[in-house]
């Protein structure tokens, strides 16, 4: 590592850090709840630690707590994970271009593509003087560090927050809401957003909170298939 590339990396982390602050708050808190839950169900610290490092998908890690305490059913575990995490497929498609040509960083960027990392890397315009690859790498790594740190703290120390934390998890909803507003203002075509909101909400009402993402995703793809045909015809 020479001084020039050191400076490039440092700059990218400095630039990325403010974008990850809300996620820092959310992940430390949620990670702590997860670590604490695992501990209270009798799992040693190594379990939540390794799961946070290698699974790194919050909602699935919470689902896994109960899975690990029920009868061994590998096929069910595998299929359930595919279902819970199917939304990642959309993130990958949206990031195909942005993650292009990033060499050794790319496998880690794909591995760490969680909801929040996707939202930041997909909506942020990286400043001209900052290396794009290192910026997105920094966002991904910082977010994972918050999650693993929170998990570890929750597992080792239990619930150390002394103030009333009820509602703190809303920080994630707030993050996505602000990004939605930013997306709305940046794009002239609002139809994709309106269609996705309507379709997801309708699926939620019909299919219920556990599986509604799958029908929403299918309907969104159908909607865009029809829309793209029309655009090509026009």
């Amino acid at each position: 590592m020479n001084i020039k590339s050191d400076r490039k990396i440092w700059k990218a982390f400095k630039e990325a850090f403010p974008h990850t602050l809300p996620i820092c708050a959310g992940f430390l808190f949620l990670g702590m709840s997860y670590g604490f839950l695992m501990k209270s169900r009798g799992f040693g610290t190594l379990y939540p630690l390794f799961m946070s490092i290698f699974i790194f998908a919050g909602s699935m890690e919470f689902v896994a707590v109960n899975l690990l305490l029920s009868a061994f059913n590998p096929l069910y575990v595998f299929l359930l994970t595919l279902m819970v995490n199917a939304r990642h497929l959309f993130y990958g498609i949206a990031m195909l271009d942005r993650y292009r040509g990033l060499g050794w960083k790319k496998p880690y960027l794909i591995f760490g593509l969680c909801d929040e990392t996707f939202a930041v890397n997909c909506t942020t315009t990286v400043p001209q003087d900052t290396d794009r690859g290192w910026f997105m790498f920094a966002v991904t790594l910082l977010n994972q560090c918050y999650w693993v740190t929170g998990t570890l703290a929750g597992s080792l120390l239990g619930n150390i927050l002394t103030f009333n934390t009820e509602g703190l998890d809303f920080v994630m909803t707030a993050l996505f809401t602000v990004m939605l507003i930013n997306q709305w203002e940046e794009n002239r075509n609002h139809r994709p957003v309106i269609a996705a909101l309507a379709v997801s909400f309708l699926s939620l009402l019909i299919a219920g909170p556990d599986i509604f993402l799958i029908p929403s995703m299918i309907l969104i793809v159908i909607y865009f298939a029809v829309a793209s045909n029309k655009e090509i015809a026009v």
Binding site: F56, F111, F118, A174, N187, L204
Partner: protein, 107 residues
């Protein structure tokens, strides 16, 4: 479940999660041009997916006793604050504080 079975289960979760994240990159590698529809999806999905994520965050609140009312008030607050100041971090922090106040003291 024995420890070995737990390790196998965790490994399967890891593999399935990586699969959902990596599949698009495996199907459409850098050296080949993706089909036109996939390129089109890539341009419209960011906004659509973030809309879907907002609904995903509200999935349990919709069916709770207040049917998302505190969430909607906080979202409205975020919208107004963001229109006014245009500061992402301020809007997120403000909205979260308003929501925490609502669920702790009002609802």
């Amino acid at each position: 479940m024995s420890v070995t079975q737990q390790v196998i289960s965790i490994a399967l979760i890891v593999i399935a999660t990586i699969l959902t994240r990596a599949l698009p990159f495996i199907l459409f590698p850098e050296n080949r041009k993706p089909p036109a529809f996939i390129s089109y999806l890539a341009t419209v999905l960011p906004g659509a997916v973030i809309g879907m994520l907002v609904v995903y965050c509200l999935r349990d609140a919709v069916f709770s006793s207040w049917h998302c009312l505190p969430e909607l008030i906080a979202i409205l607050f975020i919208f107004l604050l963001h229109k006014w100041k245009g500061n992402t971090l301020l809007s997120i922090a403000g909205g979260t504080i308003v929501y925490m106040f609502l669920v702790q003291y009002v609802f």
